[in-house]
């Protein structure tokens, strides 16, 4: 699978970098502008750090030496997928981009955005079941069918798959933890049950890849990648599990208790 020419064209890499930089600058401008408005609370700087780390991770997967190497080494491919489909979506979700946007927009435009969020189609995609099927279903399609081989032969397919991995990962994260406004929220119990099956399907797929290494890569390399998927997935999902239960813990705080006053 070695070629003289790089798999990812330079134009594309520059485009991705420009996109990431404008995202960072845009987030910073919105933060600084809304911080000047007196009636609004100060936007915390750590949210910008989260946004920045998330976007840097995404661009690393698409551009630069890591992206190129990941095309030839399955372990790096899997590390890239963990960043693109799990860690970056989590960091970006925690940076609350929609809340920041709503803060910055004039009332009418902000209302239009919330109308889009409330739309039944948005609701359908935000449902934990839809998000999980898109997320893990997509991965099963990628690793259990010839799609994985095809992706390394056609650039457009490579890009499509990677965009899907990020989008589905982000959708899944925001379907589980509500950082940004979440119209029609699902109960903690429902989210937990769906999440258990999703994490199980992720672990089962990892062992499936381990058991039946993909062709085109050395078997040992694929097995190491599969273990990386298994444990790396656990690690990121553990953070989401903690955040999910923390939100339950806060929502069931006993009323008229001293603890509540102390902690707030």
């Amino acid at each position: 699978m070695h070629h003289e020419q790089p798999f990812l064209p330079a134009v594309l890499q520059i485009l991705v970098m420009l996109f990431a930089i404008s995202g960072a600058v845009g987030y910073l401008i919105l933060t600084l502008r809304t911080n000047r408005v007196k009636r609004l609370r100060r936007w915390p700087a750590w949210r910008f750090i989260l946004w920045l780390s998330g976007t840097v991770m995404v661009s690393l997967v698409f551009a630069g030496p890591f992206a190129e190497a990941a095309h030839y080494d399955f372990r790096l491919h899997m590390a890239g997928h963990l960043l693109l489909g799990m860690l970056a979506p989590l960091l970006i979700a925690l940076s609350a981009p929609v809340t920041l946007l709503l803060r910055a927009l004039p009332v009418l435009a902000a209302r239009r955005v919330t109308n889009v969020l409330r739309h039944p189609i948005a609701q359908f995609y935000r449902n934990p079941v839809t998000a999980s099927v898109l997320n893990i279903g997509g991965l099963w399609l990628l690793y259990a069918t010839p799609l994985f081989q095809l992706m390394h032969q056609h650039l457009w397919l490579y890009l499509l798959v990677h965009l899907h991995v990020f989008a589905a990962g982000y959708l899944f994260t925001i379907s589980m933890i509500y950082i940004d406004p979440a119209p029609h929220p699902c109960s903690h119990l429902f989210r937990t049950v769906v999440f258990i099956f999703t994490l199980a399907a992720h672990g089962i797929l990892s062992k499936y890849i381990y058991a039946k290494p993909l062709t085109g890569f050395p078997a040992d390399e694929v097995r190491e990648g599969a273990m990386l998927m298994y444990y790396g997935g656990d690690l990121v999902d553990l953070v989401i599990i903690i955040l999910l239960f923390r939100s339950w813990y806060r929502s069931t705080a006993p009323r008229h208790s001293y603890q509540k006053i102390e902690s707030s």
Binding site: T192, F195, I196, F197, T198, L199, A200, A201, H202, G203, I204, K207, Y208, Y210, A211, M227, Y230, D234, D237, L238, I241, I242, F245, R246, W248, Y249, T252, A253, P254, S257, Q259
Partner: protein, 161 residues
């Protein structure tokens, strides 16, 4: 806070223990037997497909059980109704229950992996499963004793939770 108050939360104390116990045993299994000793294998060729699914589900569930169990404890504590005896009873029951399932169903029937390789496996299996049974019995005894205690104090019926 009156002692009766915790008795009305006996179910939550019990479940916090069962969940945390299950998660804790799964965590020990992963850290000690998989990562430190390298006795357990990540994947064994003889694994049945139902074994792969069962292993995946229990592995995923154990994370939720650990974190969820601990948040339940935090919730009981902020309400001043945490009940050590009931929690420990649940913990031993949940931990032993999972260990027995892992030792009999997952290791032996579904053959996901053995406790150790290239050794006579029988003593390992016996210790593993007998420990599990002891944990279950100890857990049940603790739960029974805790329930008796609550009946004595509240004079007859345990309060509905």
């Amino acid at each position: 806070m009156s002692p009766e108050h915790k008795y009305s939360h006996w179910k939550k104390n019990l479940w916090a223990g069962i969940l945390f116990g299950l998660g804790f045993v799964a965590f020990i299994d992963e850290t000690i037997f998989h990562q430190l000793l390298h006795w357990h294998k990540f994947y064994d060729r003889s694994t049945t497909s139902i074994g792969l699914i069962s292993d995946g589900l229990f592995h995923a569930f154990s994370w939720f059980a650990t974190v969820g169990g601990l948040y339940l404890v935090a919730d009981l504590m902020r309400r001043h109704v945490f009940w050590h005896k009931m929690f420990w009873g649940g913990k031993l029951l949940g931990g032993g229950g999972f260990q027995l399932y892992d030792g009999i169903i997952q290791h032996k029937l579904m053959r996901i992996h053995q406790i150790r390789y290239h050794v006579d496996i029988l003593p390992y299996d016996l210790i593993w499963n007998i420990t599990a049974v002891i944990m279950i019995i100890a857990g049940l005894l603790l739960i029974r004793s805790a329930k008796k205690e609550s009946r004595r104090t509240s004079g007859g019926e345990t309060l509905a939770s």
